[in-house]
């Protein structure tokens, strides 16, 4: 129940505050989801959907930064790894 599923906003269906909803694509499957918590989302944005409600919008810059940090940490550690085991 508490599993969040990322999806991509295809199009808005209703932008009124409490009834806001949009079509979201989840890896090829399209579902209608509630959007009251992400009124600023635009088609093409990725959102995280919990219990039918989008609760946050993806920060694409942060996503790339996390991967770069992970790769850098792994690389640095591999360089010095032999002495730190």
């Amino acid at each position: 129940m508490c599993l969040g599923i990322p999806g991509r906003v295809l199009r808005w269906l209703d932008r009124s505050p409490l009834l806001a909803c949009a079509e979201i694509e989840f890896g090829g499957i399209t579902k209608r989801c509630h959007m009251a918590c992400v009124p600023e989302a635009e088609p093409g944005d990725y959102v995280l959907v919990h219990a039918g409600l989008a609760i946050t919008i993806l920060d694409a810059v942060a996503a790339e930064t996390t991967l770069a940090t992970l790769d850098r940490a792994t690389r640095d550690s591999n360089v010095t790894g032999d002495t730190s085991v």
Binding site: M1, H34, P39, A51, L53, T56, N78
Partner: protein, 368 residues
Amino acid sequence: MKYVDEYRDPIRLQQALADLRRRCSRRWVIMDVCGGQTHGLLRHGIEDAVSDVLELIHGPGCPVCVTPAEVIGDALHIARDPRVILATFGDMLRVPGPQGSLLQLRARGADVRTMLSPVDAVSWAIQHPDREVVLFAVGFETTAPATALAILQARELGVKNFSVLAHHVRVEPAMRAIASSPESRIQGFLAAGHVCTVTGYAGYEQLAQACRLPVVITGFEPLDLVEGLRACVESLERRDSSVVNPYARWARKEGNPAARQLIDRVFVTTTLPWRGMGRIIDGGLQLRGDFQDYDARMRFEVPPASLHCTEDACLSGEVLSGRLKPPECPLFGKACTPATPLGAPMVSFEGACAAYFHYGRTSETINA
């Protein structure tokens, strides 16, 4: 899918695991708070890969598991009313209550339906004006906004045959209760990343300082989990008790103000019982006074909760607070299996007992 596949890259995962192992100067004890994380750590072999350098304790972040049996009893009481359609999450149907489960009650004719979203229940109320639709809502701060939205929609649309039996809980007070226990061995937390998308993590800074342990906002994909562990180990090795957020692509410090506003419009913080863990101060949400009309307990005159508890033999409290690994329970895999659960952690996909059972962990393998 983009932003998912990268975090499942098996080559990166192996490299990150090797890096994590190298960083551990001793065997640290870390609790992953969320059941989804527990499942991921077992499913992707991460726990096995680091078991000699890290002890992972699986926390109470499974909403089905922490819903008290008495609340299931309230749902059973309401669902027996022939006017009622009881709408709830699929996980809740098999949870043992004081007199059986909702699934057993449905087999005897009660109208119990599974929903994908709490808002579905409002649509059903509109479709069935001659019935009373009751939303049985549980969950953490991730699902509370959806319940709040359902109630606000019902009010906006003038839907009168809709009410809510709610038992929403708050994660941070439970983490604080666990870390503050004199028996706690936990040295660092992987906080539930999706809860933080709503709540933010300013509250965790106080927790980290007060309990002197690092808190890492952690996601659910395999690389998110290893990165969360790496950040936690890095802090532990530096003796640093701060909050780190490697899950910044989804979770921000301020959370989601619109989602928090939905919760605050409908609910107020309260002290609530957690199954197996007792009453946790500020550990839950209750309906605000101006939403009492939607309180199913009042509408259906639910009697005060009985102190009777059906799970004497179940050691879920020990499991949920990290004092016992599921296979160490004498009932695990014998009297208690996913097909015949005696306690809630064996019911839900997110429950620690079900995860250990599903991935073939036994007392022999965890102590090997």
